[in-house]
């Protein structure tokens, strides 16, 4: 592996507090490697987290960090980026944090094309609080708050962010860390607009156990088996896509980004007498 990302990791905070088999360590490794690949520095990077298992990622990072409140990481990041556009702002949210309690901030940050990167760890449930259902929990799932099977349909969160207008949206599972790292790196490289990478992860402690999906290794096998590349889905029948994880780049488009737009507004205001 060419990039280790070690310089961003606070070594004396290790080992991770996450459960054995948790996917967060893999996502974090992909992130710090992608940061190194893009020449990010400790001083010029702010990592904003919310609350939840993935929200603890800042404990292991020696960049500037903001560990905020549940669901609000994106709005906090919006303020940071606008106040100091020279900073690289990365937001780490889980499916509870980003797609459920913070869903409104997510779609508006995407619509606004705030120039920040979001890495969402999607493990299909609230891990930290004991495995309750979230906005991405599939229909029929057993969780600690859906003992008879979940009655709601889940968000396809990457499709939602794409529809909201984001510049870049990609999705990959932790079973394919090289491609996950590649997508994160592309997101970080992009100069303008809102960038979103959904990392499909696993929670063997809660979701896996409740739904009899086996231990971590079996769950990762399951991710591999169920993954389907986005460029191949055109030829598939709808029923073949059910329960599939559609991975790949959902969108990669050039946009102005909000910072550029607001600079134009400032110019107009300053030229007006």
């Amino acid at each position: 592996m060419k990039y280790t990302g070690k310089k961003f990791i606070k070594k004396d905070s290790l080992p991770f507090f996450w459960c054995a088999g948790c996917g967060n360590g893999i996502i974090l490794a992909c992130l710090v490697r992608a940061m190194e690949e893009n020449n990010f520095t400790q001083e010029n990077t702010v990592i904003v987290t919310g609350i939840g298992c993935w929200g603890k990622a800042d404990d292991y990072l020696n960049t500037h960090t903001f560990h905020g409140t549940h669901g609000r990481a994106l709005a906090i990041a919006t303020g940071i980026k606008l106040a100091k556009p020279s900073l690289e702002v990365i937001v780490l949210v889980g499916d509870g944090d980003g797609a459920t309690i913070g869903g409104n901030h997510l779609i508006h940050a995407a619509r606004r094309n705030m120039d920040i990167t979001v890495i969402m760890s999607n493990n299909l449930n609230y891990g930290m609080t004991g495995g309750q259902y979230s906005g991405t929990t599939p229909y029929g799932s057993i969780t600690s708050t859906s003992r008879y099977g979940h009655g709601e349909d889940e968000f396809n969160i990457s499709e939602l962010v794409k529809a909201a207008g984001a510049a870049y949206v990609a999705k990959e599972t932790i079973a394919n860390p090289l491609r996950l790292q590649k997508f994160i790196s592309r997101a970080l490289k992009k100069e303008n607009g809102f960038r979103f990478v959904e990392a499909m992860s696993i929670c063997p402690t809660h979701y896996g156990k409740e739904n009899r999906l086996g231990k971590a290794a079996e769950m990762i096998e399951g991710l591999k088996k169920n993954s389907l590349k986005i460029d191949l889905i055109k030829d598939r029948r709808i029923d073949e896509l059910t329960a599939k994880i559609i991975v790949g780049e959902y969108i990669d488009r050039e946009v102005d980004g909000y910072i550029k737009r607001y600079r134009e507004i400032q110019k107009k205001a300053q030229n007006k007498k």
Partner: protein, 383 residues
Amino acid sequence: MPEARLGKRLFLQGNIAVGEGAIAAGARFFAGYPITPSSEIAHHAAYCLPKVGGIYIQMEDEIGSISAIIGASMAGAKVYTATSGPGISLMNENIGLACMVEAPCVLINVQRAGPSTGLATKPAQGDFFQIRWGTHGDHSIIALSPATVQECFDLTIKAFNFAERFRTPVFVLMDEIIGKMHETIVVPNPQDIEIENRKLATCLPEEFKPYAYNEDLVPLFAPFGDIRINKANGSGHGQDGFPDNNPDNYDRLVRRLNDKIEKNKKRICLYKTFNCQDDTEILIIAYGCSVRPALAVIEQAARYGLKIGLLQLQTLWPFPDEIILKYSRKVKKIIVPELSLGQLRLEITRYIKDIPIKGVNKVGGMSITPEDIIKVIKAGNEE
């Protein structure tokens, strides 16, 4: 004041004077969400901030607004938002976040009649306790309240100075009357305005701790992007900003967050007195819009043969108990007019036990009149 020191004379609305005060204080970042009766502050910010290189952003809700200003503050900007009671209700969780990460910010609450949506266009003073205790957990807070348009300008600057000095959220508690009224004010020349900025860390990067204890109790600041790495953390943290759940550490942290404000009460508690003499028999204690009918009563007092003084509280929190005790020492009765069922009066009763305290209370969305106050004074005298 010598003529040369006087600045411009302007005829302004209270809300606009707040906006002018914010920009004069150096504020360059506003995030908000529209709500009556505070919207002019957002209109002013949206028009003026981009002109001076600043940022106005309208967020998706008030939770987003307070989150964005806290983020911007930690990046080094002077920040503010404006709303009314319903918006503060939504912001409350992250007002605690601002206390915890020690993000200087100014929160303007133009009060309207609650609870709930209540009367959107009518004045009230029902948020006196909301701004003090709205967010959960032990914390202290600073709140200033103007009673004139001039004070809207002056106290907004003070609010920014206190926010920066103590690294804390500071409220400017307005109401629909003060926010929407027009008066002539004098805007001083910029060089005559006293501005305070947060103290920046100057140590070597490897020695920097974002929540370092010092005698001042207010940690030195390093903005995001600095060579000194800042770890803003709303969870229990040590001096280095990393998580620390140790009970002794957390106890010390919460006490410091309270002490840095409570121990500076003398400096923070601003007030004015009107006609408070040695032989004053009746003391009116008021803030915000209720100061105005009280002033009218003072002017008419001689006509009724009454010795009445007025103590106007410009600082509401931390509560100015020592000032109230000082001015009520010799009086026979205290009158507290307010557009609530007696929130300020309740707080006063915690400190004054031996003098009758009468409230003049209205919650229908109409101003208190001088006659309302006189009626309560006279009723008491007949007892």
